[in-house]
């Protein structure tokens, strides 16, 4: 892909996504209220995701068994990942395909707009912030935005909705795999060869949400966070 097209996608499609991926475009009032957005400063790069709303969404869409601490770890990991995301980045070459592939345009403006839209809609419908709405109510609001997504979770970067992105990011993590199997599998972490033949150890109680430790530990590289 020519550099000019790549630059164009980076700069312009992100703007389109911010408006089209949600029914509610960002507004100055909400950005001032949250104090997290830089929507009024077009030169400042992608708007950060409003932290309180993101956490209110996480409480509704991540497993309850994570607990508050584990959920906060998951959200923080997602934020770091989001901060490190490079739109229209060169992707790994598929096998025996001579063309170069690139990732999609920046999804973050759209996600930020969705979070703002959720707060606005929540106030309009329920007269309260999203964080103060019960989980069932939040899910009702989120379901409309999620729309026809699925059946798979897909990759977080390709998610059209922030709720799906958050879930996709968490459920792809080694933490989620260990939680599912209730075993210390520590997938894709540098674990040494010695432990491979053994059945993975039963996950210790109350470690949900904590990063898996490689058996040797020295080369553990946590996934899910931006490098």
């Amino acid at each position: 892909m020519p550099e000019t097209r790549r630059s164009f996608l980076k700069q312009s499609v992100a703007t389109v996504a911010a408006v089209s991926a949600t029914g509610c475009a960002p507004d100055g009032e909400s950005s001032r209220r949250t104090g997290d957005l830089s929507a009024d400063d077009p030169g400042a790069g992608p708007a950060p995701l409003p932290a309180p709303t993101l956490r209110a969404v996480a409480e509704a869409v991540l497993p309850e068994e994570l607990g508050a601490e584990g959920r906060e770890r998951a959200v923080t990991a997602f934020e770091r990942w989001s901060d490190g995301l490079e739109p229209v980045a060169e992707l790994s070459h598929p096998y025996l395909v001579p063309e170069t592939r690139y990732s999609g345009p920046d999804p973050r403006p759209g996600w930020a707009a969705q979070l703002q839209g959720l707060e606005k809609e929540c106030r309009a419908r329920h007269g309260t912030n999203l964080a103060d709405l019960d989980v069932a109510g939040r899910r009702q609001l989120l379901a409309r935005g999620v729309g026809q997504a699925g059946p798979g979770l897909g990759s977080a970067a390709n998610a059209n909705h922030i709720a799906v992105a958050l879930m996709a990011h968490f459920f792809a993590s080694p933490v989620a795999t260990d939680m599912c199997y209730r075993r210390t599998i520590a997938k894709q972490q540098c674990r040494g060869l010695e432990g491979a033949p053994a059945e993975p150890e039963v996950l210790a109680a109350r470690t949900n949400g904590a990063p898996s430790e490689g058996r040797r530990g020295a080369l553990t590289i946590a996934t899910g966070a931006a490098p």
Binding site: L85, A89, L153, T177, Y181, I185, K187, L193
Partner: protein
């Protein structure tokens, strides 16, 4: 002004076969060696921890600048053009071809015999395994012959693969650990595998990549490596058929031509770019391209196809323990006498297909956090998934071709390669029989486990490709002799993938390396031993 670089041996391309040739020549002769590479350098070992993390997080290419934007062909070919070649990205599977692969015509009355046998190549297989650092175990000797043990013990079977091998033992199909170019012991200054499970980019250096060997040769002062320099054509000595010069361009200074002058030239450009350079080098003496007096350059392009599937197993496994190890069987690649021809390998991996977390359940209902986890657990606790694949050989057709594509040129105006693969009609006649046989074996395995086939598919992607400069004793039907020397030019060799006659039922890289070492032995005869 033209820059002239002289050496005894000029190797064009800096991938794995180039590294093999250069290393052997450097060790055993006093020849001066220059390697020319069109691509540049990519992520060093020190940088791979970071690029690996970004690949995991974002799917990004862990090898930045590993290709040249305008150097792009059409058809199935690798994107990489970089110091280290496509073996920077490889997973490192290094099975040997089977003895039958070299004698298809004699044994089965179809395809072609190679001018060499498995036994001729066996010492070079061993040497390649030692240079690369192979970790493996021998299967049953009648279908996995070898004269000496692997240099390193195999990768350990994970808990998952050990359970799967118990199952395949019950099915009476012998499986053993896939041999890998990954260290299970410290080897040649490189680390032991740490089971990071991202072998496309290994952050520890346990996986062999050619840059390690090239860097050692550079440090020892045994080679000159000229990157970012594209060889555009080879030119003859006036009035002879000897190659005199490789004409190139420095990609950082396109107005400055570079000439490589050498006594011996070795094309190590892989399956696509080797034939391409010969065709580009046409002149009045060889109007159809160098080494192409009989019109065979770019022909008999080959690879193998596969049938794959997923098997539902009634056992508890834990996907993620070690995805990048697998079980391998060559039993059906060495089948003995056959009523009707079919040969293939089989390999098995752990998998989470059908058992990954999902946003909607079977009836399409949207799931949230705990519901996703519960749905996921239910599917992982009810059984496990095995991925299965069988590569089978495709007999190459003479019109399976690489040609120059005048509609697709690089910035210099040179036409790029176009590959139009075509199977021999016999392969098409046998295709249904092949698929039926393979699927029957998948079914047998599934039934033995008390499981079932979840899904299957077949692919006509020409995997592990080669050909285009195939070897042979008869110049009328081949481009190079058994040593890789072109029939038409006594000081020009082509090594590795382009020279294969057929592509067997297994990954090709080890065979390409072994063939290159065999060529290096012949090339080295022209020089004093050190």
């Amino acid at each position: 002004m033209t820059r002239v670089i002289e050496s005894d041996v000029c190797i064009i391309g800096a991938g794995i076969t180039s590294a093999m040739v250069a290393e052997r020549l450097a060790e055993r002769t006093g020849a001066s060696i220059t390697i020319v590479e069109a691509g540049g350098r990519t992520a060093s070992l020190a940088e791979r921890t970071h690029t690996r993390a970004r690949m995991l997080a974002y799917g990004e290419n862990p090898y930045p600048n590993d290709h040249i934007p305008d150097q792009t062909g059409t058809g199935e070919m690798y994107r990489q053009m970089v110091v280290g070649g496509s073996a920077m990205h490889w997973g490192g599977a290094i099975p040997r071809y089977s003895p039958e692969d070299f004698r298809l015509q004699s044994l089965y009355g179809l395809g072609f015999d190679w001018p060499i046998t498995f036994d001729d190549l066996e010492p070079y297989y061993q040497e390649a395994e030692e240079r690369i650092g192979a970790a493996g175990e021998q299967g049953p000797p009648d279908c996995d012959p070898r004269s000496r043990p692997y240099p390193m013990p195999p990768l350990p079977l994970s808990y998952n693969l050990a359970r799967m091998r118990e199952w395949t033992d019950r099915a009476e199909v012998p499986f053993w650990t896939q041999p890998w170019a990954r260290n299970t012991e410290p080897y040649r200054g490189r680390n032991v595998c740490q089971r990071c499970d991202t072998c496309a980019v290994c952050p520890t250096g346990a996986k062999y990549t050619p840059d390690f060997a090239l860097d050692q040769l550079l440090t020892a002062g045994r080679i000159d490596l000229i990157p970012r320099t594209l060889v555009r054509r080879l030119a003859l000595e006036p009035g002879t058929d000897r190659i005199a010069v490789a004409e190139a361009v420095n990609r950082d200074a396109p107005d400055e031509p570079v000439e490589f002058r050498a006594g011996t030239f070795v094309i190590a450009g892989g399956h696509a770019w080797s034939s391409h350079l010969l065709l580009l080098s046409a002149n009045s003496r060889f109007p159809d391209g160098l080494a192409n007096r009989t019109g065979n350059v770019g022909r008999y392009m080959t690879g193998h196809w596969f049938v794959s599937g997923y098997i539902d197993l009634p056992m508890r496994l834990y996907p993620g323990i070690f995805v990048n190890n697998s079980l391998l069987s060559h039993r059906f690649a060495s089948p003995g006498p056959l009523d009707r021809y079919v040969r293939h390998d089989i390999r098995l991996w752990e998998s989470d297909v059908g058992r990954a977390p999902r946003l909607r359940n079977g009836d399409g209902s949207l799931l949230w956090g705990d519901e996703i986890m519960a749905d996921w657990r239910e599917r992982t606790e009810s059984g496990a998934t095995a991925r299965i694949r069988a590569y089978y050989d495709v007999l190459p057709d003479r019109d399976s071709r690489l040609t120059l594509d005048g509609t697709n040129t690089n910035v210099l105006g040179d036409p790029m390669p176009r590959i139009d693969y075509r199977p021999d009609p016999t392969t098409l006649d046998l295709e249904d029989h092949t698929h039926t046989t393979i699927l029957g074996r998948f079914e047998h395995l599934a039934r033995t486990a008390g499981g079932s086939i979840m899904s299957t598919r077949s692919s006509r992607l020409y995997e592990h490709p080669g050909g285009g400069c195939r070897m042979g004793d008869d110049p009328a039907t081949s481009v190079v002799d058994r040593w890789g020397r072109t029939h038409d030019h006594e000081n020009l060799f082509v090594v590795g993938a382009p020279t294969i006659v057929s592509s067997g039922c297994a990954n090709g890289t080890l065979t390409f390396c072994a063939l290159s070492l065999m060529s290096a032995e012949e090339i080295g005869k022209g020089f004093d031993r050190t």
